[in-house]
């Protein structure tokens, strides 16, 4: 059954449930006091929710499960015996059969796919009807059950409240479950990678050249240390050398010196800076900053300076992070009680002495946490490095030389002619997982520091 039609039908049943529930409640005998526990529309909602939610939940589960069932059914078809044992090829053929089955005009490239197409079509329709029928049945049963419970004394109002809470809970769980899902899929692909290459080779190997991989020993050219170094050098060193002083100083100016009028337009301006799409920074890095940095390097005598230097990417990334550091530091400084500031000023300290000796030390944990969050953003940042950093994996301390980052390499590994299943592409997932874990740890640590710090001043 067509999914759209199914949802439409369920919604229709829900509406009917609402109307009948309400209509029934309207006719309840209100008794002598003329007051009822719940309003008619609440009875209506109670029936409607019972009609809709179980059915919709079933549809959600079914749509996750049924592709597997269909695949199972197709594999049992006699023609499937001719399929290759090689998982990757087999999946490709089944996918093609699916496409052919959906669109009768499409012609199959692979003859087995053409043979399998009717089986796919048949299985789809069978499971479609099965799922659709069950969903409708559930909707009907749920509605009937709810309808049968309605009475004058029935507390539809509190029941509806409970359902509402459940819906809100589900909505908030979805974001969390999605994160977990992403993590699991990343983990899954990474495990496939690690079956070919040992984690030790990836994490501690110093030679990175995915273009030339020895099929017998892929790990030898997949050592990610140069990438980690480049990521750290660009995101946590160069970018922070820019972002920390400027971010901190702007936060100090904004919280301590700026008159209300200046603050009123300057803070939003900074926040707008945070909203600039990173690809715009990427242009800026590649077209303006990179040539300037190269010219500077040449002027300093480094004639072989790269036009894709670590410095160019890092500088622009630092600028991008400034508003982030500034707003975290702003919060941290603003959280220091005014009494502390007044205490220092009343001792005859100047504003800058007060900032340096009392406010910054008191706000330090918050500022450090903000910087860590900024680092975690910087090392996950992709667009700037894709556009401005180089692909050459160097371990260098010279900012004018080129360096590459984890994110840049992930993009390079996954774009172009990707053969999925090769250690080369799977390496992208393992790198992604590593990055995910590192930023996750940074964030957890930073948020804990922030929390501790907040508690200290409550």
């Amino acid at each position: 059954m067509n999914a759209f039609a199914l949802l439409f039908l369920i919604a229709g049943l829900g509406l009917i449930g609402w109307l009948t529930g309400r209509a029934r409640a309207v006719r309840f005998d209100r008794g002598a006091r003329g007051r009822v526990n719940s309003l008619p529309s609440q009875h209506g909602w109670y029936v409607a929710l019972w009609t809709l939610l179980p059915a919709l939940l079933f549809v959600a589960v079914w749509s996750a499960v049924s592709p597997g069932l269909i695949r199972q059914a197709v594999l049992e078809h006699p023609a499937a015996a001719k399929l290759s044992d090689f998982a990757f090829e087999r999946d490709a053929v089944i996918d093609e059969a699916g496409r052919v089955a959906a669109d009768p005009r499409a012609s199959a490239f692979n003859p087995i796919a053409a043979e399998l197409a009717p089986a796919v079509r048949e299985a789809r329709s069978r499971y479609g009807w099965m799922g659709g029928g069950t969903a409708m049945l559930l909707a009907f049963a749920g509605g009937a059950f709810a309808f049968s419970r309605l009475s004058v004394d029935f507390r539809a109002r509190t029941r509806v409240e409970r359902w509402v809470m459940l819906i809100l809970l589900l909505a908030s769980l979805i974001a969390i479950l999605t994160t977990i899902g992403i993590f699991l899929s990343l983990l899954w692909e990474s495990l496939r990678f690690f079956s070919a290459v040992s984690p030790v080779e990836l994490l501690f190997g110093t030679h990175w050249s995915p273009q030339v991989i020895d099929p017998k020993h892929p790990g030898a050219s997949l050592g990610a240390v140069p990438l980690f170094w480049g990521t750290f050098f660009i995101g946590a060193v160069i970018a922070m050398i820019v972002a920390i002083p400027f971010g901190l100083m702007s936060a100090i100016y904004l919280t301590q010196y700026a008159p209300a009028r200046v603050r009123a337009w300057m803070k939003p301006m900074l926040e707008i800076l945070a909203g600039v799409p990173t690809v715009v920074y990427g242009y800026f890095a590649a077209l303006t900053v990179a040539p300037a940095v190269r010219n500077l390097a040449v002027a300093l005598g480094d004639t072989y300076a790269s036009s894709e230097s670590a410095l160019a990417a890092g500088l622009v990334m630092g600028v991008m992070i400034i508003p982030f550091v500034s707003s975290m530091a702003d919060d941290a400084i603003a959280a220091v009680p005014t009494a502390m500031r007044d205490g220092s000023l009343a001792m005859g300290a100047t504003t800058s002495e007060t900032i340096g000796r009392v406010l910054i030390p008191a706000a330090l944990p918050g500022v450090v946490a903000g910087v860590l969050l900024a680092v975690s953003r910087a090392i996950g940042e992709t667009m700037i490095v894709v556009m401005a950093a180089s692909g050459a994996a160097n371990v260098t301390l010279n900012p004018f030389e080129s360096a590459t980052t984890v994110t840049k390499q992930i993009v390079d590994l996954l774009t172009g002619e990707a053969e999925f299943d090769s250690p080369k592409t799977l390496a992208a997932f393992a790198l992604g997982l590593t990055l995910f874990v590192i930023t996750l740890l940074l964030n957890i640590f930073a948020l804990r520091v922030v929390k501790k710090y907040r508690e200290a001043y409550e």
Binding site: P337, A339, M340, D342, L345, M347, G348, A362
Partner: protein, 258 residues
Amino acid sequence: MTDRVPSSPKMSARGVNVSYGGTPAIQDVSIDIDMENVTAFIGPSGCGKSTFLRTLNRMNDTIPSAKVTGDITLDGEDIYSAAMDVVQLRARVGMVFQKPNPFPKSIFENVAYGPRIHGLAASRPDMEAIVERSLKRAGLWDEVKDRLSDSGTALSGGQQQRLCIARAIAVDPEVILMDEPCSALDPIATAKIEELIHELRGRYAIVVVTHNMQQAARVSQRTAFFHLGQLVEYGATDDIFTNPRQERTKDYITGRYG
């Protein structure tokens, strides 16, 4: 509790008005504060006691909307004149706040803070001497002498307040302003602070804002009663409490409002 005859006043205010963003908070206050006596400011909440107190060391400068007019002098010098250095003024007129506000530093560093920014100690032993003397004067030395490197915020509320007093006297001020210094403290800690005020009397000119009538009577020799932004009556504490000239003062101290 005798009202020693004041010599020339340490600080004097003439026709002082303060407004916050155009709303007047105190109007036309004139008062003399002398070295020999402890002066108490009393009055119902919101009458402008803190506001006036803060004009005496220009702490109102830190509130952008506050505007001060009138004359205030310290030893005859106009403290609002361009020639007056606020930093020096606040070193000479110290302040203790309602809520103890030690810095998140060690006890030693809290007391050393002022001497350090004003360059009062030439050497480490000098600094140690200043810290010890200040803590002794604040009556805190015996309780903390073995743990000077502990954080000032780890002390009890009453100890924190005495630490703040020690911090204020470490720079050898001439005047100490205290804004309800005991309102966050229990009776025992309060008694300690009151005793301390007694001991400090004569060495510094002291002004204490308080809501507690008995406290005003106990610690001060002169009392100023504020009401609705005006200074209603100012005189010897004994007179104010036993024989007020103004009806409003009498109503307030007998508890008819406030």
